[in-house]
């Protein structure tokens, strides 16, 4: 369940990585969409990046979004597309999926890696920058 290889290390040997953490479900606030846009941009600039979905943020990856009259698009599909933009995997906190009675089978077709809350702490320790959305 180890997260994918990161980027360059700084003088202290610490991975020079940005961790973007999605904590909110999509559409109720602009945060998930704007976090996606930032992730996309950082990948384009080749900033070493990890992306994790926690708490209600796991809902961003549900299959089959975008139905009905609201016209807000399908963020799940968009996140899945980050793989072809160079993001090796989408990290998802297992406990938060379980708590919502979801399994990886409910999520979009993309390389998803489940992590424990303990591993979330480790991800934060390894990232100099953490940006929540």
């Amino acid at each position: 369940m180890e997260a994918g290889a990161g980027g360059a290390q700084d003088a202290a040997g610490k991975e020079n990585c940005v961790l973007i953490m999605f904590r909110r479900p999509p559409y109720g606030s602009v945060m998930a969409v704007e976090g996606f846009r930032m992730a996309e941009a950082l990948l384009a600039f080749q900033v070493p990046l990890k992306v994790v979905f926690a708490e209600d943020g796991v809902l961003n990856l549900l299959k089959g979004q975008g139905n009905g009259p609201l016209g807000m698009g399908d963020l799940g599909k968009a996140f899945a597309g980050l793989h072809s933009s160079g993001l090796p995997e989408l990290l998802v906190v297992r406990d938060d999926l379980d708590a919502r009675k979801l399994s990886p089978a409910d999520l979009v077709d993309a390389p998803v890696t489940l992590v424990s809350a303990c591993h979330l702490r480790k991800l934060m320790e390894e990232s100099r920058v953490v940006i929540p959305f």
Partner: protein, 99 residues
């Protein structure tokens, strides 16, 4: 070890609960989150649990002052810092913002 900065109280989006799940080092309560440090407020148990695990808990004093919350109303163990102290904590720890 990181400085976990929490800006919303436990009663709303659970920023404090989410931070408490992973926090080591220190937690700084700012903005509305300072109310969680008031004796009797929702979030007291989370904060007590953090302190019992040797996580330092700080509250930003300008946010307490703005809300008329005197230091005597806070649960034991919470230290107050002003903005200069906030910067001092950022010197000491890398930051995880919870918002």
């Amino acid at each position: 070890m990181k400085l976990h900065i929490v800006s919303e109280p436990a009663s709303s989006k659970s920023d404090l609960r989410a931070a408490a799940r992973v926090a080591e080092g220190a937690v700084l309560l700012i903005e509305d989150a300072v109310v969680s440090a008031m004796d009797g407020a929702a979030g007291n148990e989370l904060l007590a649990g953090l302190m019992a695990a040797n996580v330092k808990v700080y509250a930003l004093s300008p946010d307490l002052d703005a809300r008329g919350i005197g230091a005597e109303r806070l649960i034991a163990g919470v230290e107050t810092v002003d903005y200069d102290g906030f910067v001092g904590l950022v010197e000491k720890y890398e930051v995880v913002p919870w918002l």
